[in-house]
């Protein structure tokens, strides 16, 4: 029997039991949709985070923080990626505002001189002091993160994101000049600006090291408002950040202790990163962590692989259930059609053609289910991304995920859907093909 005739016959059998076939297919659709939705969301999320990270953390940059636990500090050191509590965390992977880790070792602003001299591969380095604080205008009190940075070096390092949308970034600022992130000026993200450049605002920092606790405050002049950065604000300028000159930060916060030192390298090759990282770690007797974007990216990638495997696995279970549904329905169909199989065999149909007819039915169900599942999954992923992006979960405007449907996922989902359908149809199809014509014809 010709292949096209076999498929035609399979299709006519499916059409006879439309509801049954539709319900069986629905199982495959749900399974595939779950896989596609979960994977395209996580891959989109990974791309967003990776992108944001690459924006904030150039590959030729190292971040030095106090504390010995190498990469662990990137994920466990107070606050998580994308956390917006307390006004966000732009400067360094959510490493907490008050810097000192358990070891008691601290970094100081003037350590940059020591670091600069460690290797000829280092272009320059600069310190960041960060504290949670408030910006006060006439009628609004806005939670922010205050960063003390060298404006000149910071704007050189983050030349794509530390850009003024209005006003200017003073490269040799006077003490009271500040630069603010876009959300500081527009907390609702709706165009209602709290102030314009050159306005005076109050900067407040709650000093908890004194008894009683006091609010330190000074009047600052807004020199520039940054363009919207978006993303998660990992390792670079943040929309919730208020940037003050490093010298002002030292006197305002009453400390020369810094949270991070950012080191710019001449090259981004692995040897340079490894050598300089080791030189810095050794110099501070292993009391600091040196993080490179390469290391963070590979860590992120491995985290996401695990997450994808886990989510994909859960979704795969639903497809397994669909497979069992197919098997169940095929066995029922086989029993119902015993006589028909007898007729086909009496007319001269070979056993393997009977097998192909039954497998053909499962291929059709698997194919329709997989294609519909991919479409549904893609729709689900986009709806979910939009819901997340709309700020329902407090993401504000910055939390944007664009679901990604890679060819691997697309082809994999298709193959998996059809594969599962065929595998679970093998046994019923084999049983159908093994029916003896005499007995099958006698079946009532």
């Amino acid at each position: 029997m010709k292949t096209i005739d076999i498929f035609g016959y399979s299709f006519s059998a499916i059409r006879l039991r439309k509801l049954r076939a539709a319900l069986t297919t629905l199982g495959v659709i749900i399974g595939i949709a779950a896989i596609v939705a979960l994977l395209s969301i996580t891959q989109g999320l990974q791309a967003t985070i990776t992108n944001s990270l690459q924006q904030g953390l150039a590959t030729n940059t190292l971040i030095v923080t106090p504390g010995a636990s190498a990469l662990g500090s990137a994920t466990s050191g107070g606050g998580s990626f994308g956390a917006r509590d307390g006004g966000g965390n732009g400067g360094s992977f959510g490493l907490g505002g008050s810097s000192s880790s358990g070891s008691g070792f601290n970094l100081y602003v003037n350590y940059t001189d020591q670091i600069d001299s460690l290797s000829p591969d280092i272009v320059s380095s600069f310190a960041v002091i960060q504290r949670p604080g408030f910006v006060e205008t006439n009628n609004f009190n806005n939670t922010v993160t205050i960063y003390g940075v060298d404006f000149s070096k910071y704007s050189q390092q983050y030349s794509k994101t530390f850009i003024a949308a209005s006003g200017t970034i003073p490269l040799s600022p006077s003490d009271n000049q500040i630069v603010v992130g876009s959300r500081v000026n527009d907390p609702g993200q709706n165009g209602t600006l709290l102030f314009s450049s050159n306005d005076s605002v109050g900067i407040i920092w709650t000093n908890a090291t004194t008894i009683p606790i006091i609010n330190e405050t000074y009047k600052a002049q807004v020199s520039g408002v940054l363009a919207k950065v978006g993303g998660f604000g990992i390792g670079g300028p943040s929309d919730d950040g208020v940037y003050i000159p490093i010298t002002q930060a030292e006197s305002f916060f009453g400390t020369t202790q810094c949270d991070t030192i950012i080191v710019q390298l001449k090259s981004s090759d692995n040897a340079t990163i490894t050598n300089v990282s080791k030189a810095i770690t050794d110099h501070f007797d292993g009391q600091v962590s040196v993080i490179s974007s390469t290391a963070v990216l590979s860590l992120l990638s491995s985290i996401f692989s695990t997450v994808q495997l886990f989510l994909g696995g859960i979704a795969a279970i639903s497809l397994l259930v669909a497979g069992i549904g197919i098997m169940n329905i095929m066995i029922v169909s086989l029993i119902e059609r015993t006589r028909e199989i007898g007729i086909l065999k009496a007319l001269g149909m070979k056993s393997r053609t009977v097998l192909t007819i039954f497998l053909g039915e499962s291929v059709i169900i698997g194919l329709i289910g997989a294609v519909a599942g991919i479409v549904l999954g893609w729709i689900l992923a986009n709806v979910t991304a939009r819901v997340l992006g709309s700020g329902v979960f407090g993401g504000g405007g910055g939390f944007k995920i664009t679901p990604l449907l890679t060819p691997e996922v697309l082809i994999g989902a298709l193959a998996f859907g059809v594969g599962i359908s065929v595998i679970f149809a093998l046994y019923p199809a084999w049983r159908a093909s093994k029916l003896k014509p005499v007995e099958a014809l006698r079946y009532e």
Binding site: M1, K2, D5, Y9, S12, A13, R15, L16, R339, E340, G342, I343, L344, K345, A346, L347, G348, M349, K350, S351, R352, T353, P437, V438, L441
Partner: protein, 229 residues
Amino acid sequence: MTTIVEAIDLKKTYMLGKVPVEALQGVNLKVETGDFVSILGPSGSGKSTMLNMIGALDKPTAGTMLIDGVDISKLTDNQLADLRKRIGFVFQFFNLIPRLTAKDNVELSMAIADMGKAERKKKAIELLETVGLKDRINHKPAELSGGQQQRVAIARALANSPKFLLLDEPTGNIDSKTASEVVALINKLNTEQNVSIIMVTHDQYLAREAKRTVQMFDGQIISDVVNQK
């Protein structure tokens, strides 16, 4: 004249639970082209077993069954299937595929024999015209009477130009008036188109329509006579 079916000392033993049942106990039979043979016998006489042997649906326990010169006991399942394409089977219960139209049912046996779409469509319509169902080609079995269904079944059996038609109680499930129409059709195929026919029945009046009646009892042939018309 060539021999199309030849049974030589044919034996078949079934196990009915743990009891062996000797359904055929050494049957000898020869059918030649152009013949119209009826195999007559009460239930339990072994005529259904004989039908399965002639239809290449089952293999004998002992003895030889030659169909179109081929010993079926030496064939594999696939070869048996191929042989069945050369046999025009008509069943007692019509056994049409319910979801297919009359035309598609007739086409099905040709599709199984690898015939192309256009050719088999043309032939299916011709055959349905032959059996007098020109205006019923797109009806499904449920929309046809018993006699009409049986005529579709005969058209289907003729589709692959078989060596012979093998009919199992062809009038068993239809009323007597329709039955005589079906019998007339069978007779016409035999006399006008020289189609060889083997018919299995328990109805002695129907059996007498054939040119020759073979009577079976207890797994043996007890008489083989030419009918006087």
